[in-house]
Amino acid sequence: MPRPTPESKPRLAPGCRLSDAAGQEATLLMPEGALKLRGPGLQIIRACDGQTTLAEIVKTLQSQFRQADPKKVESDTAEFLEQLNARRAVDFE
């Protein structure tokens, strides 16, 4: 499953979760290490609930980041999720 489709519903894989430590920068904890997140990266991970489609995630981001090229928002989001999928940190439902 190399590339998510607009209908893909990303979900954090088993063993991966957002850190809940108070007062710390949001961190995606994974078996291989940790990824500090903020901005759109954090929003994308928060939306990885297995219910929301990639198309819906992209649409929300595009409406929020109006200064960014909508096509770049779409391709960056797909690539971000694809790389996390390659690390088995995100599944596509």
Partner: protein, 412 residues
């Protein structure tokens, strides 16, 4: 079982950088200070390796535990371990690796995991699986266990049990099936060596079939019991080359389904590994009795005193103690490390290996091709590659020339 290689999360060599959407990509880890470091600028430890017992039902011929193990009577209590986890979390530690020995040998394992999660740590159980019942697995999941790394010694039962010195393989298969039913991160770990590399394809297939998200293929690192069995474990160059082809093909084929992680055999590498991500830089190991060590084999280094968590705070041990400062930064380095551009990448390699091979813990790790003592390693490899009686598991001679393994015993 114990981690046969330093659990290496923070120092993965082939870390592909993730693109952060719409902005410059960010490094997930704190960047090391480029200049000589002192205790004041050290963050962490990022991960804590909690060797909660040395007791183990397996007797693996490449176990990384020290030759002198800690007895059950010397082990820290539940309350003492919980204090360690809470202190680590306050220091900024994100993850605890519960290992051993076999961590399941501790009857309070569920309690320890619940406490580590309560302290906001990511919890990773490194286990042989032996002793893991359905009920216990449910309890661990309920306690919030994040990830299980389950060891296998081979894809085939007979050689697996030979390397483990115990009948364990069949039990592991049913335990793996039970783990896969839970929403717990699941990695299969294979330690590879001359005796099992012929079945690398089958090992990867086993991980795929057992429903793991990851498979770690880790070449033996020659410390502890592995060093005792080195002549029977070192792979040949031809085996190594073939294994790299298999790994690369598997990575491409399984992308998005099974993550393949690979730990290289440093005897064959051009440059040494960044052992533990650098001495006292990222990791702290606490042994069953509470002794804090910068790495698994640190106790082999003579005239170095290690502190105990029952006597000192984790923060003081990490920041101030002599043992954690001994090889931190660059001031201890000799040539060629001292002026080498790679010193901030590999930190001169492994101190324990430098001691073991070159007789000096401050020397350049002799596996480095730039080391003046590199010939110590090339001569070892020459014997492995030129010796006609070497059994690579593929010939009919295999059953006739079994190595006489030195098995890891159990502590009292």
């Amino acid at each position: 079982m114990s981690p046969q290689v330093p659990p290496a999360r923070p120092e993965r060599s082939r870390r592909a950088s993730l693109p952060a959407p719409f902005e410059q990509s960010r490094n997930p880890e704190p960047q090391p200070d480029r200049g000589p470091q002192n205790a004041a600028c050290i963050i962490g430890p990022l991960a804590l390796i909690a060797e909660i017992t040395h007791r183990c039902p397996l007797h693996c011929v490449y176990c990384s535990n020290p030759l002198e193990m800690k007895s059950r009577a010397a082990e820290l209590s539940t309350a003492q371990w919980i204090t360690v986890f809470e202190q680590a979390a306050k220091l900024g530690t994100m993850q605890v690796d519960l290992t051993g020995g076999e961590p399941l040998a501790r009857i309070d394992l569920t309690e320890l995991i619940a406490a580590a999660r309560a302290a906001k740590l990511y919890t990773n159980l490194i286990t042989s699986g032996i002793g893991l019942t359905q009920e216990r697995l449910n309890a661990l999941a309920h306690a919030g266990l994040d990830h299980i790394q389950l060891s296998f010694q081979d894809s085939a039962a007979a050689p697996a049990d030979e390397f483990a010195g115990a009948n364990a393989h069949e039990k592991k298969l049913s335990i793996a099936a039970a783990i896969a039913k839970h929403r717990i991160g699941f990695t299969l770990n294979f330690v590879v060596h001359r005796g099992n590399l012929a079945r690398l394809d089958e090992m990867i297939a086993l991980a795929e079939n057992l429903g793991a998200q990851r498979v770690e293929i880790a070449h033996v690192q020659y410390y502890g019991w592995a060093a005792e069995n080195r002549s029977a474990l070192l792979p040949t160059r031809a085996q190594l080359d073939r294994s790299l082809e298999i790994i690369q093909a598997a990575e491409a084929r399984l992308r998005g389904r099974l993550r393949v992680e690979y730990v290289v055999p440093d005897y064959y590498a051009r440059y040494p590994k960044a052992c533990m991500g650098g001495w006292g830089r990222k990791l702290m190991l606490i042994d069953p009795s509470g002794e804090a060590l910068p790495c698994h084999a640190a106790r082999t280094i003579p005239n170095l005193h290690f502190e105990n968590v029952t006597k000192h705070s984790l923060e003081w041990i990490w920041q101030e103690s002599e043992s954690f400062q001994k090889f931190r930064g660059e001031n201890w380095m000799q040539e060629p490390c001292r002026t080498c551009d790679r010193r901030t990448l590999d930190f001169g390699g492994c101190r324990c290996q430098a001691l073991m091979l070159a007789g000096d813990a401050a020397a350049t790790d002799p596996v480095c091709s730039l080391s003046p003592k590199h010939e110590l390693v090339t001569s070892i490899l020459y014997r492995v590659n030129e010796s006609p009686e070497i059994d690579t598991g593929s010939s009919q001679m295999a059953t006739l020339v079994r190595p006489s393994w030195i098995y890891r015993p159990n502590p009292s």
